[in-house]
């Protein structure tokens, strides 16, 4: 029975990307319908980076500390990956970067919990610092890797990375103590504390997950792009926004689909829109416009239905009280 419920939920979840796909399919049948298979493959691959970043951001957002510095962190790990590549080739590149993301992730998470200021400016300050570390690391270094190290971008490795990271995310989200405790702290930190859950430990772990996922995303992005250029200042915030959009889309279809799948559906929807816009000759910068308008409407609808539901519950209890007392 449970499988059926999940399958039905998945169908609902897939409704949004399906509608968007059909919309562009009508405009450009050649690209989306007849030539559908290769387009679909491209869409699924292109959404992997944004999806992994979205997964990374999910937990720190659940705990209530929105952190944009994850994008700058990804670029820094890409630069570190090129350094490892030039030192020892493919394997050191992958393992070295993941190890670095652990180490740096710990330092960053420790600093964040030490400062314990719940404001977006903390993320901005970290972005400045991480971006300039990236710049210093890439000064007069060859930040391009050879094709012998870019096999991760091609099949089957790209889907292995997606599914592998997805399984880790699924485990953390729906099978781990950390996931349950993160949602509890995000809901009501005081009640969680009285049940013995330490808010700072959960914050630390959430930030660590973000950093490690940024490391994984970095290895994949570097394999796809085969090169990286440090972006100074706040230039990297753009990709953090698109990851944030996926997390929001996942929130809306949260009733039907778990966040793990929801965020990937969000990422796929956004790459359908970006390919769609290119195929009808629009500037891909409209991508964020279309997604934002879309999210605004969806969020208004969700919040309005929620407030109506809460009011209904309140009236129901009151009416029950009157019925009960008039009876005895």
């Amino acid at each position: 029975m449970k499988i059926l419920k999940q399958a039905k939920g998945l169908l609902y979840g897939l409704l949004i990307p399906f509608i968007v796909y059909i919309f562009f399919g009508v405009l450009r049948p050649r690209v989306f319908l007849t030539g559908g298979l290769s387009t679909l493959y491209t869409i699924l691959v292109q959404s992997i980076t944004t999806c992994i970043l979205g997964w990374g951001m999910h937990f720190s957002m659940t705990v209530g500390s929105l952190d944009f510095s994850i994008a700058a962190e990804m670029i820094m790990y890409e630069i570190i990956a090129t350094i490892f590549y030039h030192m020892g080739g493919f394997l050191p590149m992958v393992l070295g970067t993941i190890a670095c993301s652990f180490l740096f992730g710990m330092v960053k998470a420790f600093v964040k919990e030490l400062i314990a200021v719940k404001s977006m400016v903390l993320g901005l300050a970290l972005t400045y610092i991480i971006a300039s570390i990236g710049e210093v690391l890439s000064t007069n270094r060859n930040t391009v890797i050879g094709t012998d190290a870019t096999m991760l971008a091609g099949p089957p490795f790209n889907f292995i990375i997606l599914i592998g990271t997805g399984l880790v995310m699924w485990y953390l989200l729906s099978r781990s103590r950390f996931g349950a405790h993160a949602r509890a702290v995000g809901g009501n930190a005081v009640l969680a504390k009285s049940a013995g859950i330490n808010e700072h430990v959960i914050g630390f772990e959430a930030s660590m997950v973000g950093s490690v996922f940024a490391g994984i995303a970095a290895v994949f992005t570097l394999s796809r792009g085969a090169g990286v250029t440090a972006q100074n200042g706040l230039a990297s915030i753009g990709s953090a926004f698109s990851a944030l959009m996926c997390v929001f889309i996942a929130m809306f279809i949260g009733k039907y689909v778990s966040a793990t799948v929801g965020i990937y559906i969000g990422a796929v929807t956004m790459s359908i829109i970006s390919i769609g816009l290119v195929s009808i000759g629009f500037d891909s910068e409209l991508n964020s416009t279309v997604t934002s308008a879309f999210l605004l409407i969806l969020m208004t609808y969700t919040i309005l239905t929620e407030t109506r539901l809460a009011d209904k519950v309140r009236r129901e209890v009151a009416a029950a009280r009157i019925r009960k007392d008039s009876s005895n």
């Binding site: 450009r28 690209v31 030539g35 290769s38 387009t39 491209t42 691959v45 292109q46 980076t49 710049e135 890439s138 000064t139 007069n140 270094r141 060859n142 930040t143 391009v144 050879g146 094709t147 870019t150 971008a153 091609g154 992005t221 570097l222 796809r224 792009g225 085969a226 090169g227 990286v228 250029t229 440090a230 972006q231 100074n232 200042g233 230039a235 753009g238 970006s274 390919i275 290119v278 195929s279 000759g281 500037d283 891909s284 910068e285």
Partner: protein
């Protein structure tokens, strides 16, 4: 045959410059005026900015000047104008202005600031003097501080890029580039591309000018994938900007898809250009126009030492290094990191050291900038 002619020309000018050096007094006994040369430095580590910076710093030292750099707070025109104020307030005597950063807005304002401050100034990566527009010309037309504009024949470079693609049979192409500059100027990459389309019957299927995408390698990969998905009939791509960012991604996608007859022609040199040529993806690249600020420093040094080469700002046509085959690309890459003009050559460009050197010789030097010229001057053994 064409290649032979070029090598010959390089040898001739190299000999000429060397011979001149023999007659003039040696550099040591002339006391050079120490002046401050201002320039912008975003700290970017990409393949075009690094050689530009290295050449400029070397030139400043050779000409006995002091380099003053400033990092703009952002990349809006206002940020660059604030950075310009910072340079002026540090008492710089001359400033190298990147026209591209003021292309959108701020050219007249920048020129006005330099005029009010009485510093020598000139544009590189720009357009010729007339195309600056009459607002700007009103300030700098007849000023003796205006050192003119160093421009490249953008349209020729773009035209040659398209021509190479045409020769490879790639007539349906995608376009990746910077945001469109104002009215389509005659000397612009877009103009060259459109002209080539008419002449060779080629077609631009789609354009990608979104700076958030074209400034990352993965963005390059995504763009090419989108192009090929939306326009399977596409045969090649012309890149008119941000090549240093997108090229790695493009090469990666094309080689992994095994599209052997899909060709890319670009302007601006990316890192590791030789691999893209060996992969058979990159067939044409015009770039290494990294000596604009060096020429401006030479003009400034002459002016500061009391022997200005020019009295009125004029245009100098700076040459692109046009590489049309993987051999040429490999040759160029072998000497790409070298400093284009060493100290002696630069000192020879000062009238105070070498009286015969005049604006014609300077213009000649600017025009002759090519692979052969460098080989002749530095590797003539």
């Amino acid at each position: 045959m064409k290649k032979m002619r070029k090598v010959l020309a390089g040898l001739l000018t190299g000999a000429m410059v060397l011979s001149m050096a023999a007659f003039t007094a040696s550099a040591e006994d002339v006391e050079l005026v120490n002046f401050k040369m201002g320039y912008f430095d975003t700290g970017s580590q990409d393949g075009t900015t690094v050689p530009l910076r290295n050449n400029l710093v070397a030139a400043i030292e050779s000409l006995g000047a002091e380099g003053v750099s400033v990092q703009p707070a952002g990349n809006t025109p206002d940020d660059y104008l604030d950075a310009l104020d910072t340079l002026i307030s540090q008492g710089v005597d001359a400033i190298a202005l990147p026209w591209v950063s003021f292309m959108f807005a701020g050219t007249p304002a920048a020129v006005k600031k330099c005029e009010d401050a009485g510093v020598y100034y000139g544009f590189y990566w720009g357009v010729d003097v007339e195309t600056l527009g009459e607002d700007t010309l009103a300030f700098c037309q007849d000023s003796d501080h205006f050192m003119g504009c160093f421009y490249q024949q953008e349209n020729d470079a773009a035209y040659a890029a398209m021509e190479t693609l045409h020769n490879y049979g790639c007539d349906k192409v995608g376009y990746i580039g910077l945001a469109a500059s104002n009215e389509l100027q005659e000397n612009s990459r877009d103009y060259g591309v459109l002209k080539a389309c008419e002449d060779f019957g080629m077609e631009i299927l789609v354009e990608q000018r979104d700076q958030n995408v074209t400034t990352t390698a993965e963005g390059g990969a995504t763009t090419v994938e989108n192009f090929l998905t939306a326009y399977p009939e596409m045969q090649g791509i012309v890149i008119a900007g941000n090549t240093q960012f997108v090229m790695p991604g493009i090469d990666q996608v094309i080689t992994s898809k095994g599209l052997t007859d899909f060709k890319v022609a670009a302007i601006d040199f990316p890192d590791a250009m030789e691999t893209y040529a060996q992969d058979g993806v990159l067939v044409y690249d015009a770039g290494a126009h990294v000596t604009g600020p060096v020429y401006l420093t030479i003009l400034a040094a002459n002016a500061m030492n009391g022997t200005p080469l020019i009295t009125k700002g004029q245009s100098f046509n700076q040459q692109y290094i046009k590489l049309t085959s993987s051999e040429e690309i490999e040759q160029w890459v072998s000497i790409a990191d070298e400093i284009v003009y060493n100290t002696d050559e630069l000192l020879q460009c000062l009238q105070v050291v070498n009286p015969e050197f005049d604006v014609e010789a300077f213009d000649e030097m600017v025009r002759n900038y090519s692979y052969a010229d460098i080989m002749a001057r530095h590797h003539a053994e």
